[in-house]
């Protein structure tokens, strides 16, 4: 509750700072960082039982806070902190007249994220989804002079509105079956009626739409490609991960038998088609940003394994996966910020001209592939072993299929590494030096910390998961 309130208050105050700060004022990002630190402090304190805002007795009807919620909120806030530190100059540049509004919208998205990690009621689920996505539609179109950004914004808005319609329809049907918005097993246990089952499926599909996985993935590449880089980084990490957690909350609250026997079959189909489409499409993309869009679809497929397994190991796995995936993707996007176009040939010989940048990028890409000694290995390991131990006759084939697709993903991730280390830069080397800006000192140090964190998680993943049990 603290996090929700502080984030929305922070957004409102940041909106008002337009009055006091000059354009492109550095103070703005300092102020935003201050709010983020407040968020961490207050969220951690609430985890220790110190509530500052307590809406008496209303709390449990709409929100439910568990250890996992606080831990995951902290993960989100830390990711957001790193995001701001890496992108703060670009956030000021993208639309100088509205930099305060951009920060306000980002904090509103965070408010929606905190609602989604803790909702206990279909009403709060709907509000969370809306608060999270409406600012994103605007952020996608923030680069107003760019045609592609406008297109991305409109596309995202129309498809987002469409999937929200499906979500609402599902909520209505579920309400019709149970007569309540509450999401506890007592309420939904007797929902064996077709009405309730179809309602749940609608909500499930609408949330899958928001994540952007296989049968509902068509908007992802265009939107991610058209959106300004800084906001793609935000959408591909924090937002994507949060919606998966929201899905997990939803399924956990229902006790999956409510949806029916077909639940596991549906999830199986979604996971396999997501992995297939994400990985095969990523193979043939002309530039790295678009490749990252498809790779994020494929990675979401791995995260959905938690929905298939639904056990403790999967909870630990999704936590590690969320952290490692977010850190790696943020690193890659922070480096993509430095390129004007980022086709594969732009990376030729990067190891010679920008050795540190190439090194960071390599670790991030290897982590996304799932190479041992990077966090990505344990992320995938946890998800796959959770799937394996969940039992059922499809568990083993699913694990094998996932491993095959993880192998395929190595092809396009290593393509970038190959370009950086084993290709000589183009003959007109001054061309390359013009388009690639060097990393600033702050970015260097933050990226160094992030890369160390990724490597550290590859050796001691329990450093994160142990927090679940204290």
């Amino acid at each position: 509750m603290n996090a929700i309130i502080i984030a929305s208050l922070g957004a409102i105050i940041l909106m008002l700072t337009n009055l006091f700060f000059r354009k492109r004022s550095k103070l703005l990002s300092v102020f935003a960082l201050l709010v983020v630190i407040l968020l961490i402090v207050f969220n951690t304190l609430e985890g220790q039982g110190l509530l500052f805002f307590y809406p008496a007795s209303l709390n449990s009807a709409f929100f439910q806070f568990s250890n996992f919620t606080y831990l995951f909120n902290n993960v989100l806030i830390l990711t957001f902190l790193i995001y701001i530190l890496l992108n703060k100059n670009y956030l000021l540049l993208i639309n100088p007249d509205h930099s305060a509004d951009i920060y306000a919208l980002l904090f509103f998205v965070m408010t929606g994220c905190f609602l989604l990690t803790s909702y206990n009621n279909l009403l709060s689920l709907f509000l969370g989804i809306e608060i999270m996505t409406i600012p994103l539609y605007v952020l996608a179109g923030m680069d107003k002079k760019n045609q592609k950004s406008n297109e991305a914004s409109l596309k995202y808005f129309l498809l987002g509105a469409f999937s929200t319609c499906i979500l609402l329809m599902g909520i209505t049907l579920l309400y019709g079956a149970t007569g309540s918005f509450a999401l506890n097993p007592f309420n939904t246990l007797n929902t064996t009626k077709l009405l309730g089952q179809v309602g749940m499926l609608f909500i499930f599909f609408a949330l899958l739409f928001k994540v952007g996985v296989a049968p509902f993935h068509f908007w992802v590449p265009d939107v991610y490609d058209g959106t300004p880089n800084v906001f793609t980084a935000f959408m591909a990490t924090i937002v994507k991960v949060v919606v998966i957690i929201a899905l997990l909350n939803f399924i956990n609250a229902l006790t999956p038998n409510c949806i029916g026997k077909s639940y596991k079959t549906i999830v199986l189909f979604v996971i396999i088609s997501t992995l297939a489409i994400g990985n095969f499409s990523a193979l043939s993309q002309p530039n790295v940003k678009r490749m990252m869009a498809y790779s994020s679809i494929a990675q979401a497929g791995f995260m959905l394994l938690a929905l298939y397994a639904l056990n403790d190991l999967a909870t630990q796995g999704i936590l590690i996966y969320a952290i490692v995936y977010s850190l790696s993707t943020l690193t890659i996007f922070a480096i993509l910020n430095k390129f004007s176009l980022a086709t594969f040939s732009d990376f030729n010989g990067l190891a010679k001209s920008q050795p540190l940048m190439a090194c960071f990028l390599t670790v991030a890409l290897l982590s996304l592939t799932g190479i041992p000694l990077t966090g990505g290995f344990f992320a995938k390991y946890y998800m796959l072993s959770a799937t394996f131990f969940s039992g059922g006759k499809y568990a083993l084939p699913l694990v094998i299929i996932c491993l095959i697709f993880a192998g395929i993903s190595a092809v396009y991730y290593l393509k970038v590494i190959q370009a950086m280390y084993f290709t000589t830069p183009p003959v007109t080397s001054d061309h390359a030096s013009i388009t690639i800006q060097p990393l600033a000192t702050l970015e260097k140090s933050i990226l160094l910390l992030v890369v160390i964190a990724i490597l550290f998680l590859g050796i001691f993943p329990s450093i994160v998961t142990q927090w679940l049990y204290f």
Partner: protein, 167 residues
């Protein structure tokens, strides 16, 4: 009386909805949509939810539809030849729609057969939750937290609209 009104409004609503989709001119679609909103407000009144009925008319038929009309008039999208769809799209769209309709009908009829209290599914002129007083009590007592969060949602939407609208 109430039952016959219910059927009248329902038939009118379905007719208007079909007309919205099939009208060639965007202006006609919008006007049929206004008719649709009025019939739905009629349903609300039958369910003793006057407040909802009035708000539905003021907000949807009043504000949003006027906005739509202005946009259509300003953008001049009146040429009926503009919206020719490809045949493939029409076939697949129609197929998907029919499948969706069939499954929804299946759900509705199943719900009717399995529940004895079918009358509870569509009661007319009973219940008082929709009256302004009760709605207010409910909204500010049990639902005050989501109500406040709605405020955050609208604020974010306003900031977004201003940000996009300003040059």
């Amino acid at each position: 009386m109430a039952t016959s009104l219910f059927w009248l409004f329902s038939a009118l609503a379905i007719f208007a909805a079909v007309m919205v989709v099939t009208s060639r001119l965007a202006i006609y679609s919008i006007l049929w949509l206004v008719v649709l909103f009025f019939t739905i407000s009629g349903h609300y009144i039958l369910m003793n939810a006057q407040f909802l009925a009035i708000v539905n008319i003021i907000v949807y038929a009043g504000a949003i539809m006027v906005l739509f009309l202005f946009v259509v008039m300003l953008m001049n999208v009146n040429d009926p030849n503009d919206n020719k769809k490809s045949i493939g799209l029409a076939i697949f769209g129609g197929l998907a729609t029919i499948l969706f309709l069939l499954s929804i009908l299946n759900i509705v009829f199943n719900a009717q057969h399995t529940t004895k209290e079918i009358n509870d599914l569509a009661t007319t002129s009973t219940g008082d939750i929709g009256l302004v007083q009760n709605l207010g009590m409910e909204l500010f007592k049990n639902y005050v937290l989501p109500f406040e969060i709605c405020g955050v949602l609208f604020l974010s939407a306003i900031i977004g609209a201003v940000t996009l609208g300003k040059r």
